[in-house]
Symmetry: C2
Subunit: 218 residues, 2 copies
């Protein structure tokens, strides 16, 4: 595909790339069509040949963003070679790391404004057992092996997700000086959370990160 001065070639992909790079540094509502047109050397209305609206471009960013988020977290949770508790621990840590490194993207993925896209994606994840679906599956795995309490896995998954989301939000939305001591906070939160969903007959030893030897059956 040869490009000349007039036609750009693959403007659509470039718009997305520029938008991604932009929210790596600035908030999404600072992103204007002028930013995109200036960066590509096109006119402000060029985008409408590739996206129905500015929102449509953002929706695509969100879809790609969820894929990126899932690629960062789910593999850790699914790695059956490692002990389950370790997998929970490191997945949660990666969750927070992702939020910390991509705050603007994270807010986009888990904020109110585009909840309808998240809704759609989560229902897909429920089917192919990625993302939130993977978390529920991992909890079920823990219940079946007797490590976790037999309870509603959906409810347990939400409590875990809720805690991670809460801590991540505190970190990236500038609550006090949380960002500095967040690692200790996470370890504490994890212990607390784990104590709540772990089976009664299983005792948790103190060291972190955990290993399979650190779980003791009473």
């Amino acid at each position: 595909m040869i490009k000349n001065e007039y036609h750009h070639g693959n403007l659509k992909e470039e718009f997305l790339k520029i938008a991604f790079n932009f929210i790596a540094k600035e908030d999404i509502d600072k992103l204007t069509l002028k930013v995109l047109s200036d960066a590509t050397g096109t006119s402000r209305s060029a985008i409408y040949k590739h996206f129905k609206s500015k929102d449509a471009l953002i929706e695509k960013i969100i879809e790609d963003g969820f894929e990126q988020f899932d690629n960062s977290t789910s593999p850790i949770l699914k790695d059956k070679d490692k002990p389950l508790i370790d997998r929970f621990y490191f997945t949660g840590k990666e969750y927070i790391k992702f939020a910390k490194e991509n705050p603007n993207l994270y807010r986009l993925l888990f904020g109110k404004k585009y909840a309808y896209i998240r809704e759609k994606i989560i229902s897909i994840q429920d089917e192919d057992c990625s993302g939130f679906g993977a978390l529920k599956l991992a909890i079920q795995e823990g219940q079946e092996s007797g490590i976790l309490k037999n309870d509603d896995s959906y409810k347990q998954a939400i409590i875990i997700w809720s805690s991670l989301h809460g801590l991540s939000s505190l970190i990236i939305d500038g609550f006090m000086d949380v960002a500095e001591l967040y690692e200790k906070l996470y370890d504490d939160m994890f212990k607390t959370l784990l104590a709540g969903i772990i089976a009664n007959k299983v005792k948790l030893l103190s060291s972190l990160p955990f290993g399979d030897k650190l779980l003791k059956v009473k």
Copy 2:
């Protein structure tokens, strides 16, 4: 103070009142100066005689909003006639209720955009022991009476706040169908959380809401 057609009387207060009523129903970024001027029968630029900018009006809303939030939650936490665990339980419940009933205001108070105002307010609350300061104080009270683990009260407060914020966000930002089963979720989360910060020598009985009789010293 007599009003005629030209001068309004107390336009500043009315702007705030209208803005408050507006975010009770719609998101803050739907609030335009035209909405305010139409509702008061004034011109779009009238607001600049009372506020430096649109943002300055929003900042005032946030300050008032925090006062409102504090009035809803802190009194429950400070009521020393009731057992401490009950106070934690019902304060948390009120926290979530506030978020549920005022989602747009809650997002304004705890979102990223106006974090600098929250920062300012929290430092005030630290001094007069309202809001976040009240939470830390209540935790210290629990530690001194031997009910709670002797740990960094600041860290414990953040973990609690983080959990409440996470669950509230899930509810109001449209995460799945959390809104329906949030009461059960809250009870579960509270138990889990409490198990994490409660002193080892204290055993927690199962019923909710708790009472002082439900705490048993081993």
